[in-house]
């Protein structure tokens, strides 16, 4: 991807504005990361608690650049046949069957076995060419003419071995296929890796990436996010609900509510035509925010106090 093709990425400011037009409100740091990733052609490793918009960042970037988003969801046992490429065995088989007769014509005039084999050798590895290659996400991203956004989601869930597989792609933007050779990216894709930190990634992988940690947003930023995502929520309610979520995050919970939960909650409050928080309302909608029964029980006793604190001003 080149600078002149994407004026949206010319500066940190323009990235921020661009993101905002797609409803993704971000901090300077996030915009700086995207800017640097584009300028230096480096992948970004996005870390942070679940639900702070890691995946969303890649999606929004693809919207902003109007390039396709190619997504690879990682899981345990993911291997190169599912991530890189696979041979189209069926097609290979079919073709060999169909071409069987052709073989006779081809070998006409040869006298002995050695000569036939010699002649066959001249045709090379037809069945192991790009025609018979089934590209999987990583290879597909390399093949895009106009570049692509490659999202490798939850890379921490994949196996240790898979990480090593990624290294070649991340540093040189190329893939080695034993039967064909090296496939270089036509246009360097922009790569986002996300991680929930369920395990430590290897140093080799980290070294190749820009490291972006997205924490929970500040009250102010989160209010802006809600305003852009759920514009119909009344300003006072918006402030109260964001404050409330922030005070929940201070508590010792199994699963801390993230931005996506705040957005969901704002939507549900809107549906219920609420204009301010009260205990009854919060209690009945708390399951939108908290996903564990234990957490709901734990907050129950302090709910009144929390609501009083957030609705005071």
């Amino acid at each position: 991807m080149h600078n002149q093709d994407f004026p949206q990425l010319a500066s940190v400011e323009s990235i921020k504005e661009g993101f905002e037009s797609f409803g993704y409100i971000c901090s300077d740091k996030i915009a700086t990361a995207v800017f640097l990733a584009f300028q230096l052609r480096k992948p970004i490793l996005v870390e942070g608690p679940p639900g702070v918009g890691k995946t969303e960042l890649a999606k929004t970037t693809s919207q902003l650049l109007e390039t396709p988003l190619i997504r690879l969801q990682c899981y345990e046992g993911l291997d190169e046949a599912k991530a890189l490429y696979e041979w189209k065995y069926g097609k290979q088989l079919l073709y060999t069957q169909v071409l069987k007769e052709k073989l006779g014509d081809l070998l006409q005039g040869t006298h002995d076995l050695a000569e036939s084999v010699e002649r066959l050798h001249q045709f090379g590895d037809i069945f192991y060419s790009e025609e018979f290659l089934e590209p999987r996400p990583l290879l597909k991203a390399m093949q895009q003419e106009r570049g692509a956004i490659l999202l490798i989601d939850e890379v921490d869930k994949s196996d240790y071995e898979f990480e090593s597989l990624l290294l070649e792609i991340l540093s040189d933007y190329q893939i080695s296929i034993p039967e064909i050779g090296t496939v270089k990216a036509r246009t360097t894709p922009m790569v986002f890796l996300t991680s929930n930190n369920t395990r430590d990634l290897s140093d080799a992988l980290k070294r190749r990436c820009l490291h972006l940690y997205i924490p929970f947003p500040t009250v102010e930023l989160e209010e802006r996010i809600i305003r852009s995502r759920v514009p119909d929520v009344d300003e006072k309610l918006r402030h109260q609900l964001v404050e409330f979520v922030h005070s929940l995050r201070q508590m010792d919970l199994k699963k801390i509510p993230a931005i996506s939960e705040t957005i969901d909650w704002a939507r549900s409050l809107l549906l219920l035509h609420a204009d301010k928080l009260d205990e009854e309302l919060v209690r009945s909608t708390l399951n939108v925010l908290l996903k564990f029964e234990d957490d709901i029980d734990a907050t129950d006793s302090e709910l009144r106090q929390l609501i009083r604190d957030t609705t005071r001003d």
């Binding site: 640097l36 065995y89 088989l93 196996d159 140093d203 980290k206 070294r207 820009l210 490291h211």
Partner: protein
């Protein structure tokens, strides 16, 4: 600027942030792409390439502020308001810093007593014309800090290691900057009892203060990390019983680091292919795409279970000095490895895993000592252990025993050790006493050794780390 970036990276390294040469290059690219004009932008950008974990990022931010303070803050940000205030509120702003109002006295009063004195004294006149005095009198922070940094570099300030060197470096820098002349003039003026004395003295004090600050900040930047590394190195090689109580918190950090390193090295799951056993369903499923021809052959594979570790620690009087650290290690190990159960005993034995989970380390160790401390009786302890955990010991279990095997001539109950030995994957005994003492007095070590897969002497952290590393390798 690239130079200072490199030395900044050097500083980060001493603060335990691991940065490779490739990352240094990346940082250079980032700096050229972003430019040096926007400080926060540069900080964010560098942070992304240099710091790889949230902890490293915290260190990075701290170092960044300290390191670029002099170069950036003094140069661009602070100077302008200084000049402004000097121009705008000449009269009002008298209660500010000494160097500020000295500059004002220059602009407001016609001529200071110092200048008057200089007119009549050629040596003082010469001093006044020197770069240093000009910088001081004109409140030229740029020149001053530049001279200071230069003098610092010449004196090798970046090599500072110990806080005891601070005075020495301050002196060196002052000398290099030409403070001697000022000092001489001060003495002369003192002798002459001149009215200019107090002003010159003030300049000298400002200079000294500035240099002291500079040395202090450089010390924090360069030496803190080095001192820490040095301390850690020393601590890890000292006999555990000799480490003073005051260093306990440092040892704790060290042990934690060590335990984390070990856990990271050994925690990822291992899969093994069992060649020879065909996984028919998978092979057929994979073959569907190929017209039912089974191109891909899939083999059954088994996942190796993570090892379960049972750690038993003697906390009796005879090993009291070690017990603290061994417990500390147990505590950290339990923190980083998922399947560790800890036990403590002197005569009676009990499980302490929950205590470790519930309380912070110091409190937990105190509680364990209070609950289980006393006279040693390995016989009873082993009986208790067998009651508690023998049923859980299987071929995937590693049992670590930390103790000196001094049983006060009681019944060693060797048969229990033997049944543990037979059931478990391995039994490891770590003894703080040196191997020579094992067969002496009431030590049962030689007998117990017969029921261990591995027995070793272990009395400092380095040894402990090596042994545990081996242990984890072999339990894979």
């Amino acid at each position: 600027m690239p130079d200072s970036l490199v030395s900044f990276i050097q500083v980060l390294r001493t603060h335990d942030v691991r940065i490779s040469p490739a990352e240094t290059l990346d940082a250079m690219h980032v700096a050229t792409t972003l430019g040096y004009s926007d400080r926060t932008l540069l900080r964010d950008g560098l942070g992304m390439t240099l710091a790889k974990t949230p902890e490293e990022e915290a260190i990075f931010l701290q170092c960044f502020d300290r390191f670029f303070d002099r170069q950036l803050a003094d140069f661009s940000e602070e100077q302008q308001p200084d000049e402004q205030s000097a121009v705008e509120d000449n009269e009002t702003d008298t209660a500010s810093t000494p160097d500020q109002d000295s500059s004002e006295s220059d602009t407001t009063s016609e001529s200071s007593p110092l200048e008057e004195a200089a007119q009549s004294d050629p040596s003082l006149e010469e001093l006044m014309q020197s770069e240093l005095m000009q910088a001081l009198v004109n409140n030229d922070r740029n020149a001053l800090s530049l001279a200071m940094t230069k003098a610092g570099e010449a004196a090798g300030l970046q090599q500072i290691q110990m806080f005891t060197q601070k005075g020495q470096f301050t002196r060196k820098i002052l000398d290099a900057m030409g403070e001697e002349q000022i000092r001489k003039s001060v003495i002369e003026l003192e002798r002459a009892d001149s009215p200019a004395l107090s002003e010159l003295q003030r300049y000298r004090d400002i200079l000294r203060e500035q240099v002291r600050d500079h040395v202090e900040s450089q010390y924090l930047l360069h030496a803190q990390g080095k001192t820490q590394q040095f301390m850690e190195d020393v601590l890890s090689k000292t006999r555990l019983s000799n480490i003073e109580h005051t260093y306990l918190h440092r040892v704790h950090d060290l042990v934690r680091k060590m335990a984390k390193k070990l856990a990271a090295r050994h925690s990822h799951k291992r899969r093994e292919y069992r060649r020879g056993q065909l996984n028919m369903p998978r092979t057929m499923r994979a073959g569907i795409a190929n017209d039912g021809l089974m191109f891909d052959v899939h083999w059954r594979r088994t996942r190796k279970e993570k090892p379960q570790i049972l750690a038993v620690c003697d906390v009796s009087g005879s090993v009291a000095a070690y017990a603290k650290f061994l417990l500390l290690f147990l505590y950290s190990l339990q923190d980083v490895l998922p399947r560790v159960r800890s036990f403590a005993f002197s005569s009676n034995l009990g499980e302490v895993s929950e205590l470790f989970e519930q309380y912070p380390v110091e409190k937990a160790i105190e509680l364990v000592n209070w609950k289980y401390g006393g006279a040693t009786d390995y016989g009873t302890a082993l009986t208790d252990f067998a009651n508690l955990a023998l049923d859980d010991i299987n071929s995937n279990t590693t049992v670590i025993i930390l103790g000196d095997a001094r049983n006060n001539k009681g019944d060693p109950k060797l048969e229990i050790m033997q049944s543990i030995y037979q059931r478990s994957r391995q039994v490891i005994w770590l003894n703080p006493e040196s191997r020579r003492a094992w067969a002496t007095g009431d030590s049962e070590m030689q007998r117990y050794q017969s029921a261990c897969h591995f027995a070793a002497e272990c009395n400092n952290l380095k040894q402990l780390e090596r042994i545990i590393d081996q242990l984890l390798k072999s339990t894979r």
